[in-house]
């Protein structure tokens, strides 16, 4: 027999219950850390959102203003006749204008002289604009007319801080001495920043004229496209969901369709673009670059969104409504169209607006069917032409500007984004209001 001595296990030192032992402390620290990871993740996400918004607003707002030169200009009838009689008519107008500008500067006591070339660098060819105006409004002859002529894009950039004195190299576009003149004009209040209406209402300009580029024509293009999307995908989508939800038997076939719809919603948008190119343009020979084709492609993309949301809102209508309608002798169709559909309407509209907003921001498929920015050179002539004439859409126009080499177009692209986001925000706000207003909990 051995004397088995039981060595007592040293019991952990008793600590008071109110004091946490090291292990608990460690676990609590881990808990805190974990929570901080979560907060950090959300903070990073929101930080990205803020950075995005700030950079959009900061870079986009300058696009809405434009440096203009404001001059009161009087053209007498003799001057008009004389200019029209000359060989270089616009040059004559230009020299009148320069004389007036010189006079104006002297009146204000500014002692800066300039040559004609400098004015041309700052303002572009003013003669053409003046001649056009007076030929159209001959009755304005002899009266003072106030002109607001937009300055060239480089002068505009100088006003907005994009072009700086240090970085500027003398070229045929702009010289250091021109900036002195611009400064003097600005002090006199002749050159100032004004709201650039042309950007909001105008059409795209050429590669060499960033100042004249506007987004208006492509807004119209987007509008016609949305019309096509709305009138195609809403009826088809609602009809399909009513059938699937209310009438279709539960079998393999409808199951397959359901799976397909949810897969369709996840197909990359560019694949829809290729499809549109192959089917609508190559096979059906619809006009290229037309909002009609763009609308058809986007309608295909919007359909799954509308079907999914319509089915969800049809499902949300309680069966008691249907049963009550059937109970008082309505046919199945009457029950659906008179009772279920009106109750599901707010949900359907909300889904439609959200689907349209998605379609409005879609770019890639439009590029493939030729709706690139530079085709948006003017407004369509009429309602039908709005569908078939080559036009662009807002996001495609933004892409075209972003892809151009001239840096001044970037500002336009950011500005276009602001306009696009304003449209999207409005649509989403309408959807939210609809939902708040009409949503019913059963």
């Amino acid at each position: 027999m051995t004397d088995a001595t039981i060595t007592p296990v040293p019991s952990p030192p008793k600590t008071p219950l109110t004091e946490a032992d090291p292990r608990t402390k460690k676990r609590n620290a881990a808990e805190k850390r974990f929570q901080y990871y979560g907060i950090a993740a959300i903070a990073v996400g929101l930080f990205f959102l803020i950075v995005l918004m700030v950079s959009i607003v900061r870079s986009g707002l300058p696009a809405f203003t434009q440096a203009v030169v404001s001059v009161d200009f009087t053209l007498t009838e003799e001057q008009y006749d004389e200019a029209e009689a000359q060989l270089f008519k616009t040059a004559a107008y230009q020299s009148y204008f320069n004389a007036v500008l010189r006079e104006e500067l002297r009146e204000r006591g500014l002692d800066v002289d300039f040559d004609e070339a400098a004015i041309e660098r700052i303002l572009g060819k003013t003669g053409g604009t003046l001649r056009e105006f007076f030929r159209a409004n001959e009755d304005q002859l002899g009266q003072p007319v106030s002109f607001e002529l937009s300055a060239s894009s480089r002068v505009d950039g100088y006003f907005k801080g994009r072009v700086t004195r240090e970085a500027l190299q003398d070229s045929r576009f702009l010289q250091q001495s021109d900036l002195d003149l611009v400064d003097a004009l600005a002090d006199a209040g002749i050159v100032f920043s004004a709201l650039n209406w042309n950007f909001i209402t105008g059409a795209d300009s050429g590669v060499d004229n960033p100042g004249g580029a506007g987004i208006g024509a492509s807004v119209v293009g987007s509008f016609f496209m949305m019309l096509v999307v709305l009138f195609l995908s809403l009826p088809i989508g609602v009809a399909a969901s009513i059938y699937l939800e209310e009438f279709a038997p539960q079998n393999k076939f409808t199951d397959l369709i359901e799976v397909n719809i949810s897969n369709l919603a996840a197909v990359p948008s560019i694949v829809f673009g290729i499809l549109g190119l192959a089917v609508f343009i190559q096979f059906m020979h619809l006009p290229q670059s037309a909002p009609l084709v763009g609308g058809l492609v986007l309608a295909l993309m919007t359909l799954p969104t509308i079907i999914i949301s319509t089915r969800a809102s049809l499902k949300a209508v309680p069966p008691s409504i249907r049963e009550a309608a059937l109970g008082v002798g309505a046919s199945k169709m009457q029950a659906v169209f008179h009772h279920v559909l009106p109750l599901a309407m707010p949900g359907i509209l909300t889904g439609t607006i959200i689907g349209l907003a998605q379609a409005l921001g879609e770019t890639a498929p439009l590029l493939l069917i030729g709706m690139v920015g530079f085709v948006a050179r003017g407004y369509p002539d009429g309602f039908v032409a709005g569908f078939t004439d080559p036009n662009s859409a807002m996001p495609a126009q933004i892409y075209t500007w972003a892809a151009r080499a001239d840096v001044s177009f970037y500002e336009k692209a950011w500005g276009g984004i602001i306009i696009l986001l304003v449209f999207l925000l409005t649509m989403n706000a309408i959807a939210i209001i609809l939902r708040r207003r009409f949503e019913r909990r059963w």
């Binding site: 676990r27 609590n28 881990a30 808990e31 850390r33 974990f34 929570q35 990871y37 979560g38 950090a40 993740a41 959300i42 990073v44 996400g45 929101l46 990205f48 959102l49 950075v51 995005l52 950079s55 959009i56 870079s59 799976v259 949810s262 897969n263 996840a266 197909v267 990359p268 948008s269 560019i270 694949v271 673009g273 290729i274 499809l275 190119l277 192959a278 190559q282 096979f283 907003a357 409005l360 921001g361 879609e362 770019t363 890639a364 590029l367 493939l368 030729g370 690139v372 996001p395 933004i398 892409y399 972003a402 892809a403 692209a413 950011w414 984004i417 696009l420 986001l421 999207l424 989403n428």
Partner: protein
């Protein structure tokens, strides 16, 4: 159907074996070239690389914010932060593309580029895998976060209660009970996000560059399947030339890849949901 038609026509003009195995992408611009090399692999590599970078950004941020929002946040924070993150999902991709090209790209160059803050010259130009991947990651954050949020919420409360009853802290419960239970669903969500990343066009067209190369350097410009579809089909190209028809083959490959990913992901998510219903 039309896709298949054009794809078949392309493979009549260009051998399929080369399309799938060739390591170089060098279309001739003359339009009628037998000299074009149209290999899918460099494009596919660019696509996958950018998607991986995007997922590395989006998955941790999205997952942690989903965990925080569904497990810790008070209803006030939740009703405030969730829609704000949702805004990120509602912004059109062209906006992200411009953001990549004009803000993130130059920023990355000023950090990693020549004479940058870090004193290294890894990045030559603004257009790079990193630029596109980072911005795409931002785009995917709300996508990952809202999907994982739903999935974490679907884990039954009884499992959490059981874990608390054994004395586990909240984070231990999440890490050892909730996440393992939600893992298949989260994997499905990540696959869905990956298929979004692979099919994304505008961000890579503007942010990733146009050079097709097989490289491991994330600061180099690479191109993707989607970007090449755009560049092959825009402009005045003849629809019958292999250079234009290759876009249909690319589109077909893209469609098949994303469809497979989606089907797998939906299958996983659905299976997972049934488990707890």
């Amino acid at each position: 159907m039309a896709l298949i038609f054009n794809t078949v026509e392309f493979f009549n003009l260009y051998p399929a074996s080369e399309f799938f195995t060739s390591l170089s992408w060098a279309p001739s611009f003359s339009g009628r070239g037998g000299s074009s090399e149209l290999g899918l692999l460099p494009l596919l590599w660019g696509t996958l690389y950018i998607s991986i970078v995007a997922l590395i950004v989006a998955v941790p941020i999205g997952l942690f914010s989903a965990i925080y929002l569904s497990e810790y946040a008070s209803s006030n924070v939740r009703s405030f932060a969730k829609p704000l993150l949702g805004i990120l999902a509602g912004i059109p991709t062209i906006v992200y593309g411009l953001f990549a090209l004009l803000t993130v790209g130059p920023l990355l160059v000023s950090v990693f580029g020549d004479g940058g803050w870090l004193g290294v010259s890894w990045q030559g130009g603004g257009r790079a895998v990193m630029t596109a991947g980072l911005v795409m990651g931002i785009m995917l954050i709300p996508f990952v976060s809202s999907l994982s949020d739903d999935i974490i919420n679907a884990v039954p409360q009884s499992m959490r209660d059981g874990s608390y009853g054994l004395g586990a802290t909240k984070s231990e419960t999440i890490r050892q009970v909730v996440l393992p239970a939600a893992l298949p669903g989260i994997a499905g969500a990540i696959l869905l996000a990956a298929s979004r990343a692979i099919g994304e066009t505008m961000i890579v067209v503007l942010g990733a560059g146009a050079a097709a190369r097989l490289s491991l350097n994330p600061f180099e410009a690479m191109t993707t399947v989607t970007a090449k579809i755009v560049s092959q089909l825009t402009g005045d190209s003849d629809f019958a030339s292999p250079e234009a028809l290759v876009a249909f083959a690319l589109g077909m490959s893209l469609f098949v890849i994303t469809l497979t990913l989606n089907v797998i992901a939906l299958y996983i998510v659905r299976k997972y949901r049934e488990q707890y219903d």
